[in-house]
Amino acid sequence: MNKKAAEKEVQATDAAQEKIVNDFSMVIATVNGSGSQTANLALIRAVFRMGVPVSGKNLFPSNIKGMPTYFTVRANKDGFTARREKMEILIGMNPETFDEDLNDLVEGGVCFYPDQFKVPGTRDDVIFYPVPVKQIIKEQNPPRKLVNYMRNMVYVGVVSEMLGIEIREIRKALETHFKGREKSIELNMQIVDASALWASENLVKADKYVVERDHQTEGMIMLDGNTAGALGTIFGGVSFVAWYPITPGSSLAEALQSNLPRLRKDEKTGKQTYAIIQAEDELAAIGMIVGAGWAGARAMTTTSGPGLALMAEFAGLAYYTEIPIVIWDVQRMGPSTGLPTRTSQGDILFTRFLGHGDTQQIMLIPGNIEECFEFGWRSFDIAERLQAPIYVLSDLDLGMNLWMSKPFDYPDQPMDRGKVLTAEDLDKIDEFARYRDVDGDGIPYRTLPGTDHPKAAYFLRGSGHNEQALYSERPEDYEANLERLGLKYETAREYMPKPVIKETDGATIGMIAYGSVDPAVNEALSRLAAQGVKIDYLRIRAVPFTDEVYEFIHKYDRIYVVEMNTQGQMHMLLRLDVPDQATKLIPLTHNNGLPMSAHWVTEAVLELEGGNDGQ
């Protein structure tokens, strides 16, 4: 809407005067590989630093360049950060999808777009701001090879001006981004300033959306879950990483690759206190960490569904030979290759039973980036304590998108290296038997290769073994071992992170969810409460379950289990554990590659409980 034309209209519409403060989803529609990341990060960082709760989600194709990509900034004064199905603000930079993109704008929504695009007649309920991107670029004349990339800075300037995002926060965001590289900062700011100026001179605000300074994010940090996980891992004392690239597991390894040298070089020698190896495939990756875990290191890998599938045989070996390792499965959409750049929670069942022949695997499931950090270090304590592979099931939404968090808590306990016998320990005992249940908790003692004691050695094998780790095909030995493993699985419950429970007065309905659907559920619960539907909420953080989970289930008339997969996988695991409560558990599953929305959860519940959601 250009200034002249708008001025009149503005006076006419009072509606435009009702401001909507710090509450919108803004979608930036670009083309993959067009270099919009700096611009998008500048916008979200600026809003975040103005004290407004935000989240940032990148919806990108499995492709390097040229396909439609969306970055969504959700700002919400109430702290809700889940995906929304609609948006209030569209920055439409992709001509291919422009018409379609408009469909998802709410009534009264806003659209910024390059003025050479033709606006289709479909949305007369939307406020359009054409922006002369080409012209501004031409006037500012940035270095030729940066022209395409600078187009993104135009919308940063215009949108900031129109929404009230402070330009100095944009500058600070760019300073962070360019780590103080002055020339880059100035070049970008030149476009931002010019564009903001153009907007102030030529556009009249006709929409309701504004950003105003707040204090809710003070002291907080913003990053993606994979980086958080990598940092947690580093503070967990990881010393061996083997991995094979795969989206969305890769960026966790890459965050290790870039941060380990910063945090874990030996100060005197500059040498590494860790090794990180890009393996030839996932079979090798897990094989290497199995070797390292056996030898006594804190070892981990990171992967995603297809890679996890390739790890199945080793997963069984690690389970059965009781080797501590940590496997991050950053879940993506399946089955099969699926959608490598879309999120899902579809690996729950597969992981639980990973490996042929009666395995019972242990999973930690972070629900936010703080927990990515925490489970990053804690998973090693648990793995070494239980002498078992631990699977950390994150997902693409949590792992690759931007989330706010309070600064991470430093580990609140020293490392638990579990039951390891040293040479001195061996001196004190009569006999060492690798697979004997000395303490009655199903967890045996182990020695580490190289332990300099004649009693120390044992020969590890995935086949039949007795307590002394000697080869045995005796039925009694086999049964005893499997029984002990069963007991160990029970013991594991003690070490699992407890669920997070949120209770409301008078609720007779329960809801169970886990992982990255947490923000959507939280938001949905508040909407449902507003409609008089009171629901208590339990967020699972580990399998096997702890008592709290069973108790929770017993308390309610019915319990909705919300998850992002097709079969209702956690629902199935719960059902198996509480047969007498099985019919009370109602699956609510949604699985289309997009993060869960509060709207969907609300609607799904209301459909069953009566009522409907506004969105």
Binding site: D266, K271, P411
Partner: protein, 350 residues
């Protein structure tokens, strides 16, 4: 067996330099078939380590699955061992030695384990130059699963109940060479002396030392005409040289005619002496090694000896620039940065 210079023969009951007798290097009784080549190799591993006076606790025995992969059970009861998954021995070994480079890994694999299901891992462990001895007990068949062809079986070989093998065999040594191995040897289980000397040298090599040892399977493929049979090995064997590994301090004692001997020094100061036999062969030239293998395959002979040695490529722990202390021995201090570090580091995400 003649008693050669540098061939440190110690009587089994006599304690070696670290006070252990040969029995301290033995394993559990073999459950392999009597006469299996793998058993002879096991004996030579025991003998070599005993004679080298290496503490068994410093050794890790690594294997995959197969008759060959069972053999670590029959050696070195005082060493840790890992009988892993079929074909995956190289991967677990990589992990283990990277986190504890003070250990010497001896990997024992079969031709099925190495040249089929684990082929890519074999090639990669060599390419990365993981410090380890990699022994392939090569019998051309899958012993443990009862006699199917492996990828090293001769083309045209007929086995009972299996048929005729139509494919060219994979040559483990060629593969190792192409992948950049710095120590590539071929030997024959029926030549215990050579096997032992090669083992000694291999143990002192700093990267991946590959030993492809023809090891007849008496149950499924020891038939006339098979290149993996005892008869073939004995009659068609052509040693390239008479090889002896010489420890650093014994160097002086070795007396051999100059000109007849090639001497290669190893990074730790020990030496390998190659005494010339029939032909002149330069074990430091990769292309000759390849040519030799191609040619010996065409001629239908079994060349044995150290085909290639080159210690230039750093072993993986060096490449990765690891601290001197094995990673598994690092204390919590070294592994977990301080709270202050965390608080400071996290600032970048504000």
């Amino acid at each position: 067996m003649d008693n050669k210079a540098g061939d440190k023969q110690v009587k089994p009951k006599v304690p070696n330099e670290i006070g252990l007798i040969k029995a301290d290097y033995r394993g559990r009784p073999s459950t392999l078939c009597q006469g299996c080549g793998h058993n002879s190799i096991s004996s030579q591993i025991v003998a070599a380590l005993y004679e080298l006076s290496i503490p068994p606790e410093r050794i890790i025995k690594m294997s995959g699955i197969g008759c060959s992969s069972k053999s670590p059970t029959y050696i070195l009861s005082r060493s840790f061992g890992f009988n892993s998954l079929h074909g995956r021995m190289p991967t677990v070994t990589t992990g283990a030695v990277m986190v504890n480079h003070s250990l010497k890994a001896i990997g024992i694999s079969g031709d099925g384990d190495t040249a089929s299901i684990g082929f890519s891992h074999f090639k990669n462990v060599v390419r990365r130059n993981v410090p380890m001895v990699y022994i392939v007990e090569n019998n051309g068949v899958y012993g443990l699963t009862k006699g199917q062809f492996s990828a090293t079986a001769d083309k045209g070989l007929e086995l009972k109940g299996v048929g005729v093998n139509p494919f060219m065999p994979i040559d483990i040594c060629m593969e190792a060479l192409i992948s950049g191995a710095g120590f590539v040897a071929r030997s024959f289980a029926g030549d215990p002396h050579q096997v032992k000397e090669l083992l000694k040298a291999a143990i002192h090599f700093q990267g991946t030392a590959v030993l492809d040892i023809i090891s007849p399977c008496v149950t499924f493929d020891n038939r006339e005409g098979s290149s993996k049979s005892y008869r073939w090995g004995r009659s068609r064997k052509e040693p390239l040289h008479d090889i002896t590994w010489v420890p650093r301090r014994e160097e002086i004692q070795v007396e051999l005619q100059p000109g007849e001997v090639l001497d290669v020094a190893m990074h730790d100061g020990s030496h390998i002496k190659f005494k010339k036999l029939a032909h002149d062969y330069d074990p430091t030239d990769r292309m000759s090694a390849l040519k030799l293998l191609e040619e010996s395959c065409n001629r239908g002979v079994l060349v044995t000896g150290l085909l290639y040695i080159n210690e230039e490529t750093p072993p993986l722990d060096e490449t990765e620039n690891l601290v001197d202390l094995p990673l598994v021995q690092l204390s919590e201090d070294a592994l977990r940065p301080s709270k202050e570090t965390l608080d400071a580091f996290i600032e970048r995400y504000r």
